[in-house]
Amino acid sequence: MDNLNKKDYQKYAERKIPKPTYFKNIILAFIVGGLICVVGQIIRNTLFKYGLDEKAVAAGTSIILVFLGAFLTGIGVYDKIGKIGGAGAAVPITGFANSIVSPAMEFKREGFIFGVAAKMFSIAGPVLVYGVGSSIIVGILKLLLTKGR
């Protein structure tokens, strides 16, 4: 250590300074989110092999991914994935399933109606309200714009 000169020490110190965490967060979100989508692609391709049409494949892939997300949340694994991946775990549809199971488990003691069933939708509810609501507007706009021609 004694023969380290100033420059070397500076280099050494720079390496020890924690990098801004958001760079690390972005990399982890990219990897975790990307991997979940690769799993989705594997499921898609497998379903196509069984001769399902595009609509059935899309529905089947969602169903299987939602099941995986819910199951992994139940056994406590998805929360660990979430801690590593951040938005990479939250943004895929498996994260949507996680957002349903987590609060539902937590509020079980408040009963099966106001606990489990109501809390299931504490995050999924708003997602559906804005998603479905805006899609109806899009549908109506489409109708108005194409009828006008």
Partner: protein
């Protein structure tokens, strides 16, 4: 190649979410709502379709893909069944995922308990 595209597209969509999460005070719940709505708007404008063609599951698995399916379903419904279709199309297209979320979410919540370790 297909898997690589799915990985990159899906990863990048999640990165957008992570950047919003880290640089604003928005919570993951906000991100999910924003992403679904963004997917509906982009889907409605026809801008999400090319991403789905390119990225496959990388574009459909993240929540904007859910919004895209809603918008696509609503537009197809409007085209074939008129105003009624605009109401029914979105949920029809996404019924599988929504129904799965309800039944699997409920069952898992019944059989599992929150893990409070560490």
């Amino acid at each position: 190649m297909e898997y690589l595209k799915a990985f990159v597209v899906g990863g990048l969509i999640c990165v957008v979410g992570q950047i919003i999460l880290d640089t604003t005070k928005l919570t993951p719940a906000h991100i999910l709502v924003i992403f679904v709505t963004a997917g509906v708007v982009l889907g409605g404008l026809g801008l999400y379709e090319p991403l789905v063609k390119f990225g496959g599951a990388g574009a459909t698995v993240p929540l904007p893909g859910f919004g895209y399916s809603l918008a696509k379903g609503a537009m197809e419904g409007a085209k074939s069944k008129g105003i009624i279709g605009a109401f029914t199309g979105g949920l029809e297209a996404t019924a599988g995922g929504v129904a799965a979320a309800i039944i699997f979410g409920y069952i898992m919540a019944l059989v599992a308990d929150p893990k409070t370790k560490n």
